[in-house]
Symmetry: C2
Subunit: 408 residues, 2 copies
C-alpha cells in the first residue's frame, strides 16, 4: 500500500505568494473597476535588454539548422557561460573560482530547494527570521522541521535567528548546534545587508564549528555601498565552508526566462555519517547529472550576453532604474511617517507597520489598492513589518506612493 | 558539525552516460584521426521544426518589449500550453484530463527524479530490469535503496522485475509487496512495448494492492501499432493509481530546449503514515510551487507550436525519419546475424550481444568506432544486450551499419 510523505501535512498554510494571490483575486473580482498596483511579489517588469534579445534570436536560429542544432548540453551548463561567470562575477573582484565549480541551473529557487538533499538525516538547520520561505519549507518536506509549534510560531527543529530593528537586522550566531545556516544578503525580505566584517564573523563561526553556510546572493547586482560584499567568497576562508547561489532573475530580468547558478567550491569537504570524506562538489555534480538535464541552450546564450560590455551596460541601466524607484519609495514612506529599512543596496523596502502585517496587507489592498507582502509571511520576526519592492514601473511606483502619502 | 547525505556513497560507479563519455573521450584523444559514430546516448540530431522556431522568435520579441514582457509565469505552466496538451495528447484519444492536472516542467528526468519526494519513508520501490538509471538512483539518494548487493547486482531494498527475451520483455507482477512501480513504455532501453491488455494487468494489480504506478511515456510519439497504448490513462482505472510523464525531448527534438510535463490525476488519493488522506495532486502542486519557478516563456511558446496543425505535421515527419533509421538498423543487425528487439514502436534497438555488454561496447568502439550503450549499464538483466538508437543522421546510421555488416 503506497503511503505519501507525511511531512507535507506539516507545512503551514499555502505558500506565501499563493495566499497573496488568493486574497488579491478575491478583492479584484469583487471590485473590477479599481486599479490595483502591485508592489508585492518580487517580479521584474522591465523587458529583457537588447543584447539578450539579440543573442537569443541568434540561438533560436542555430537551433533551426542541422549544422548548429544543439541537443542535450552539459548538465552543469555550457563552458561559454561558466567562463563568463567566473571572469565577470568573480575574477574582477579578485576571487578565483574555477569554471567547473559553477553549476548553471534554471533557477536559484530550484537550487536552494535542492541543496538540502545533500544533507545527512540529522542535520540541524538555522535560518534568519524573517526568511525566504523556501529554505524552511524544503527542509520540512524532507523531514527536518520537526513539528510546528504555535507558541514558537515556527518548527521545533529549525533554529530561527531573529533580524529586527533591535539588532539592526544582523542575526546573532546560533546559540545551539547548527549544522547548516542559510544567509541571504542583500536580504530578502528586509533589504538589509552585512558588511565584510559582519560576514567574516559567520565564516569564522562556520569554520570553527564545521558548519556549512548557504549564501543566497541573488540581489548582489543592487549593491552600491563598497563596504558590502557581493559574494561570500570575498571573505577569507569561505571556500571551505560556503556554497553561493546567484540568479539572472533580478540581475537581468530573467524571472520568466529562467537562468541561475550555484558555486560549490572543491575545497568543501565533510565527513558523512559513515566516516567517509565526502566532497560536496562531487555530490552536487552527481545530483545535477542524475536529476537535471541542463538549461535551454537559447537561455544560456541570453545569459552569456549579459556579460558582454554592451549587455552589462544595458542591465546596469535597468538596475539603476529600479533603484531610483527604491529611493522614491523610501522617501515617500518616510514622508508619510513610516520607519523604513533596506532600499539602498537592495530592491526591497521593509517598513514598520502600525498594525499586524496581514491586517496592514488587507488595509493597503482595500483602501489604497496596493499589494505588498506582509512580513509575517516571512516568519515570526517579520510580524510588524511589510515588504515593498522597487520592481514596479516608475509610473506605478509614483502613483502608489501618492496614494500612500494622501490623507484619507 | 555538518554531515553530508551518506546515501550518495552507495551509488554504483558513475552515472552511465558519464562513464560512456569517459571511455569515448579516452579513445578519441588516443585516436584523433578515427571517425566516431554515436549510436548510443538517446539524443536527437534533427533541428527544431519551422513552426517551433517561428514561435520562439515571436516569443523572444515579446520578451524585449515592455507591453508583452513576461516575468514569473505560473509554476505549473501557462494555460495556453496546458490546454494544448489536454486537447491534443489526451482528448483526441478519448481521455479526459483537466488542464490543471498537467504540470509543465523543464524535463521528464527532473520530474521522474523528483516524484519520489512524495513517497513515505518506508516505500518499497519496484522497477523493471533493465531500467533507466534515474528511477533507481534517485531512490537510493533518498535512502530507499538499502545496500548494494554484489551477488544480486542490485540494491537490497529495490525490487527488480527482469525483462528478457525469455519473458518477451513483459515483466511479471511483483512477488513481494511493492508500493510503487516504475514502468516505461515504449521502453527505454529495450524498445519493447506493452499492449493494452498487458498494461491492464498492472493497473488492476495496482488498484488491488493500493500501489502507485509511475508511467514514463516519453517515447509515445514513436508508436505505430494501434494495439499499443500511448498513455496509461487509456486503461480503465488508471486515474486512481497512476502518474504519467511525457516529454517534448524526443517528440519534438527539445533535448536542448527543455520542456516536458507530468499528469497527476486528482483522483489519486492515498493515506499518509499519520492516517491523513493525501491528494498526490495537491502535494505535487505544493512541491512545484515551493521548489520550481516554471519553464521559460519562450520554450513554452515553442512547445505550444508543436500542437498546431503545421507543427504537428513537421514533428511527425522528423519522427518518421528516425523510425526509417530504426528500420535500417534492425535489418542490418539481423543481416549481420544478431538477434534484435524493439525498433518498431520505439527509437531504440536492443540487440543480444555475443560477449558481455561492456566488452561489446569496447569492441565496437575500438574496431568499428561506433558508440552504443551497454545493456549492463541499465541493470543486471541488461547484461548480454546492447542499445542502439535511431537518432543519428541517416548518413551516420547507414555508415555505422555498413561497418557492422563488413567482415573484418
Amino acid at each position: 500500500m503506497f503511503r505519501p510523505n507525511g511531512n507535507y501535512s506539516l507545512l503551514q498554510g499555502s505558500y506565501l505568494f499563493s495566499e497573496i494571490e488568493r486574497r488579491a483575486s478575491s478583492y479584484i473580482s469583487a471590485n473590477p473597476d479599481k486599479k490595483i498596483i502591485r508592489m508585492g511579489i518580487g517580479d521584474v517588469t522591465e523587458p529583457l535588454v537588447g543584447a539578450v534579445i539579440e543573442a537569443m534570436h541568434k540561438a533560436v536560429d542555430e537551433m533551426g539548422v542541422k549544422a548548429t542544432f544543439r541537443g542535450y548540453g552539459p548538465e552543469q551548463g555550457y563552458k561559454f557561460l561558466r567562463d563568463a561567470i567566473t571572469k565577470h562575477d568573480y575574477a574582477v573582484r579578485g576571487i578565483e573560482i574555477a569554471a567547473d565549480e559553477v553549476f548553471v541551473s534554471d533557477g536559484a529557487k530550484c537550487d536552494v530547494g535542492a541543496i538540502q538533499e545533500l544533507f545527512g538525516k540529522e542535520t540541524s538547520v538555522a535560518v534568519t527570521d524573517p526568511v525566504y520561505p523556501v529554505y524552511v519549507d524544503t527542509n520540512v518536506m524532507a523531514g527536518r522541521g520537526g513539528e510546528f509549534l504555535k507558541e514558537k510560531g515556527g518548527f521545533s527543529n529549525i533554529i530561527y535567528l531573529p533580524c529586527t530593528q533591535e539588532n539592526g537586522f544582523v542575526p546573532e550566531l546560533p546559540k545551539q548546534r547548527a549544522d547548516v545556516l542559510y544567509l541571504c544578503y542583500p536580504n530578502n525580505p528586509t533589504g538589509t545587508t552585512l558588511t565584510r566584517e559582519q560576514l567574516q564573523v559567520f565564516v569564522d563561526w562556520a569554520k570553527e564549528t564545521g558548519a556549512l553556510i548557504l549564501y543566497d546572493s541573488a540581489y548582489e547586482a543592487y549593491i552600491s555601498d563598497p563596504e558590502v560584499p557581493h559574494s561570500i567568497f570575498e571573505i577569507e576562508g569561505a571556500k571551505e565552508c560556503a556554497i553561493e547561489f546567484r540568479s539572472m532573475s533580478k540581475t537581468a530580468g530573467f524571472t520568466g526566462t529562467r537562468c541561475a547558478y550555484t558555486v560549490v567550491p572543491k575545497a568543501l569537504k565533510y565527513k558523512d555519517d559513515l566516516g567517509n570524506e565526502a566532497s560536496l562538489h562531487s555530490m552536487w555534480n552527481r545530483r545535477h547529472c542524475t536529476r537535471f538535464n541542463g538549461v535551454s541552450y537559447i537561455t544560456q546564450r541570453g545569459a552569456e550576453a549579459t556579460y558582454t560590455e554592451e549587455g552589462r551596460r544595458q542591465i546596469l541601466s535597468v538596475v539603476r532604474y529600479y533603484m531610483e524607484n527604491a529611493a522614491i519609495i523610501q522617501k515617500s514612506l518616510i514622508d508619510a511617517g513610516y520607519t523604513v529599512y533596506g532600499g539602498v543596496n537592495a530592491p526591497y523596502i521593509w517598513l514598520k507597520t502600525p498594525t499586524d502585517s496581514w491586517a496592514f496587507f488587507d488595509e493597503l489592498l482595500t483602501t489604497k489598492q496596493i499589494i505588498g507582502t506582509p512580513g509575517a509571511g516571512f516568519g515570526n520576526a517579520g510580524e510588524g513589518y511589510f515588504r515593498m519592492t522597487a520592481f514596479a514601473s516608475r509610473e506605478d511606483t509614483v502613483s502608489a506612493m501618492a496614494r500612500i502619502c494622501q490623507r484619507p
